[in-house]
């Protein structure tokens, strides 16, 4: 059984990770889908680490009103430098695409992997990167040492927030919004600003 200090830390982590999951879920349900997120929490006794994984509640992926499919996995851990149980993003992956099966029909995948970049010395790609599952005849004709399929390239990007991801879907993919495009974009901008000012724990 954990001591009282550890138990307090676990409870604080539970509260903070749940609030963060609720925030992400709310961004989605107020803009482009009625499908909420859920949170799974795992305490690894071997390594004494706490993790929470945030993902859609009922399905692996969600089909939006125009047929576009999205998938979201967001993992948070306990911030190592905060005894109050603050959470930090360990990694996330937001993807979208088309067709019946996103495993095959994904178009773009945004990955942010600060934990991998920090702890895996062999990791050599940008912390924030984009994978594009497309074709380029010119790229395929380009034969140089070490070239790999286009979808395996890690295009560098800054950290793309869920607000950015949803905004992209609304503006560029024509995803219908639940309560009007203008109010959705306003909500996303407001949330992005508030988060940057008050909650961000990592660059």
């Amino acid at each position: 059984m954990p001591d009282s200090g550890t138990a307090r830390l676990h409870r604080a982590f539970g509260r903070n990770s749940r609030r963060f999951a609720e925030h992400l879920s709310s961004l989605l349900t107020r803009t482009i889908t009625d499908q909420p997120l859920r949170e799974r929490v795992l305490f690894d006794r071997e390594t004494q680490t706490l993790n929470a994984l945030i993902l859609f509640r009922d399905t692996r992926e969600v089909v939006l009103a125009n047929g576009c499919r999205i998938r979201l996995l967001h993992r948070v851990t306990l911030s190592s430098d905060d005894p109050a149980g603050a959470v930090s993003t360990a990694e996330y992956s937001y993807a979208y695409g088309f067709g019946d099966n996103l495993d095959e029909g994904w178009l773009v995948r945004y990955d942010y992997v600060p934990e991998e970049a920090e702890f895996n010395p062999e990791y050599k790609y940008p912390v924030g990167h984009v994978h594009f599952n497309g074709r380029s005849a010119a790229y395929e004709a380009f034969e140089a040492a070490g070239t790999k399929p286009l979808h395996r390239l890690h295009f560098p990007t800054r950290c793309i927030s869920l607000e950015d991801f949803i905004e992209h879907l609304v503006v560029e993919m024509g995803v219908p919004t639940r309560h009007g495009q203008e109010s959705a974009l306003e909500l996303l901008a407001d949330s992005r600003n508030k988060f940057a000012k008050e909650k961000r724990t990592r660059d």
Binding site: E39, R109, F119
Partner: protein
């Protein structure tokens, strides 16, 4: 309802899971989507032999969530 930055938001379902449950889930997913068992998937992960696809990326996130992401100590 819950609250975030001063605004009311919908509560989310929270589920506690164990490493064993996650291994079982990864095994089911890997068999269904990649045609391999958990042990085969984990072996490929440890050896860096997995292709960087959407499915693999998703299962690796589950693996790390289960506390099995450290290749060096695997």
């Amino acid at each position: 309802m819950a609250e975030w930055l001063g605004e009311e938001i919908e509560a989310v379902e929270v589920e506690e899971v164990s490493r064993g449950e996650m291994i079982g889930e990864i095994d089911r997913e890997a068999r269904e989507r990649l045609g391999m068992s958990f042990d085969q998937f984990y072996e490929c992960y440890r050896n860096g032999d997995l292709p960087d696809t959407l499915v693999v990326n998703e299962l690796v996130i589950l693996l790390r969530f289960a506390g099995l992401g450290d290749r060096a100590s695997a």
